[in-house]
Amino acid sequence: MREIWALARKDLRIEARSKVVATQIVPFAMVILVLFGLALDADSRTLRDLAPGLFWVATLFASVLAIQRSVAVETISSSFEALRLSGAPAWKLFAGKALAVAIQLLAIEAVLGLGIVVLYRSSFQDPVLIVTAAVAATIAIASAGSLYGVLAVGMGVRDTILPMLLLPIMMPVLVAATRAFGDGLGTAALNGWTWTGLLGLLAVIYATVGALAYAVVIEDT
């Protein structure tokens, strides 16, 4: 656990100093919210009803950038070799990288949450459900993303292939997270906790697969 946290803290410290997420990815996520508002030419009611889906689409797009950044900090100075030399087992390296991505994604989601309240007039009717669903979905996205981020390393075209690998896989997460938020924001009459349960299951599956597969894919970075 100490190794996992040390690795995650390293990535967070790099972010604290470089501020790439804060100055580029968070604003980008907000731009997506504004784009939806303009594109849908919507009265506030439409945007309010669509808010759960728009929130998660914006999160997924922003996550692609966050994951690319997470991999880039290792490849810039070829420090994947250094990570492997640390002697920590591959699954801990995976957990550390994914944890850092998850924390950054949660920060992006917090800003987006504020965004939909201000721009789309959403109201958090069940904050506990919203936070639980967001955490579960974020673990799923960060896990699958951290694995795919490394799979796309070491190729000239890595920036273009990642969305096409990651986003189709994330469709079940999008469906479940949108339903859970629909209940939590009071726009859909359904049981959000069932969907949060599915999100939890997806988080477990992607975290397990990522931890198992990381050793195989990290060999050739």
Partner: protein, 286 residues
Amino acid sequence: MSTSLAEPQTATSNSDVTGTSSKLTFALGSASLLGLAVLLVLAFVITDADQRVYDRGVDLEPLLTGQGDAVRLLYVHFPVAMVTYIAFMLNAIGSVAVLWKKSTWWDNTAAAAAEVGVLFCGLTLATGSIWGRPIWNTWWKWGDVRLMTTTILFLIFVGYLAYRRTMTDSRVRAKRSAVVGLIGAINIPIVYKSVDWWQNRTLHQQSTLRDRSIEDLTLFTMIFGMVVFMAIFAWLMVHRFRIGWLEHQAETVGLEAAIIERRAQTSTAISDAVTDSRSSTETGSD
């Protein structure tokens, strides 16, 4: 290349290959295409349109329902969909074998299966969409569990094929593609289940093969269609596999063979030069 190889046994035995066909694939391909022609005649001409008559009671007119001529598309749609799933299953098996045994043969098979699978998956979506327009009254039905699952599967494997093209090192490509392929495969039940939960509805009919309502000719055409599309699948797989194999040979053996060929040329050139100089000395001494 083939004529001047110094040691043909060390070079690829396929070095004089100009295509990927053989007598067997020619026969298989001819049979497949002939079968396809017969299937189309059976499906679109000989079988009856679907017009079941339901008795709606005494005071109501007997109701003529069913799918009419549109049902004929199912003779194509169903076998194509079946082959799609077989192809992606073969890709998953190949991916496991690659990770387990580091097998080039299986990597090649997995790649071929994914490519042919994407083709058939596209055909499944297209034929289903065309069939859906008159029957469901829409080209596309959001939330239909099988349509959504097939669509997402299609996108996952389009990504898989694009991913394969990004790598040049065949060993790395085999391993990483296997991971991507396997994650795609384990997503199939997840996608199916989550879409099922999402809308909990399907416009797809349940299997009618087992109940007695299906007629003899209909059943025959359906099974014949499966056989024909399995044959087409096998035919395309063999060709695609051979292309992949030749590519692999070109990557690994090609350089070696070229070096041997070059050495053979230079050594001939040297010995020629030596003979020339000898003969010229001999003539000079005369």
